[in-house]
Amino acid sequence: MKPPPFHYHDPGTVEEAVALIGSLENAKLLAGGQSLMPMLNMRYVLPDHIVDLNRITGLSHIDETDGRIVIGAMTRQREIEHSDLLQQRCPLFRKALLQVGHRQTRNRGTIGGSLCHLDPAAELPAVLTALQATVHVVGAHGARDIAIADFPAFYMTPAIEFDELVSAVSFSPWPIGHKSAFVEFARRPGDFAIVGVAALMDAADNGMIHRATISLSGVGAAPVRCTATEEQLIGTKPDEISLRVAAETCRELDAMEDVHASPSYRQHLAVELVSRAVQAALDDAGAGSTS
């Protein structure tokens, strides 16, 4: 099993990469390669050109600027997993990443690659959806920002043009002390999950939730926000029953069908995992604490 023949390009800057994808026919961008390389090996994709982004060091960074945290598209999943800044300000990343593939794939895989591959079951797009992140894109006609909710066009396809690439993602970190959880169901650790849940929550000392975002992977073609659940939780101090009632709204979500699970099973998992994720978030010590 070998990749098909292609012309290989390894630009050193974003500008060169943008110029290449704007001028080449049937080009594919190669990020960490943990999804594209299998697809090449199995010849699911037959690009005439591969534009390898791995030499562009400027795309790999984790910074805080103007109150936002910015993560470069080529930042390896491993770097995000081990980032002190993110562990302090957004521990949700590490919680989710520990369920992304394996050590060997996180060493290579990137956040931008995961986002653009847009597998319905992928954890990072669900995390970015819960964070209401912004996707930064550059192309031949300049740079633009896309709200994460508008980023998926359809199944495994981002809403960017063929001559554009994702350069970074950014988000406003939640306050110190916010709570988070990532819960998923997969048949084995590291496998693609059938359904996953990212939950962010801000609660007062008395347990009153005043802000919550919850997103699901693996239910629809792209991550979905559980807005009905969020609305039922905000302004309350949920107990076991009210939490269950709020999670039950996820049974109304449109769910996809594939070889792994039926729509009704995905809806069942959504309800069950959302209640577990909310409970885990409520029990979380909170970002910036020592645990």
Partner: protein, 175 residues
Amino acid sequence: MSVEQEFPELRPVVFTVNGERYEIDVETRMTLADCIRHQIGKTGTHLGCEHGVCGACTVLVDGRSARSCLMLAVQANGAEITTIEGIASENGEWHPLQHAFHEHHALQCGFCTAGIMTSMVEFLRENPDPNEEEVREALSGNICRCTGYQGIVTAVLDAAGRLRAVSDGVGSRRE
């Protein structure tokens, strides 16, 4: 231009494999795994699934474990690569993992072993004193169809102890 004239597309690369320097031309579509086996001639790295699931082809690239079937050889330009042939010491003394695998019957057919050992070299460097659950989690990226993993887990835990004894209490190094 016809495909015959355009391909193979070759690129010069320079990298080291187990400390030995190689300056070779590689076909740009060649995976690092195929390069290591066919061009470098080190066949200890095994290819199982060739799509990143089985872990058999795991090597260390600049000290980090990576699936060599999911990297192009051309991407290894400038890298230091370590394969299973390179984990014993230069005088041929086995790595503590190799001793432990031998003694705890941690392999039967051996096909998965190279990928497991290279993965565990990195894991034990970062987590020198793991518990059993952490070892099982660390092994989750490598498929073994013979052993049922029990012997492997025992061997990794034993090797961790041997490595700690060798390093004489010196802490882990996290890059």
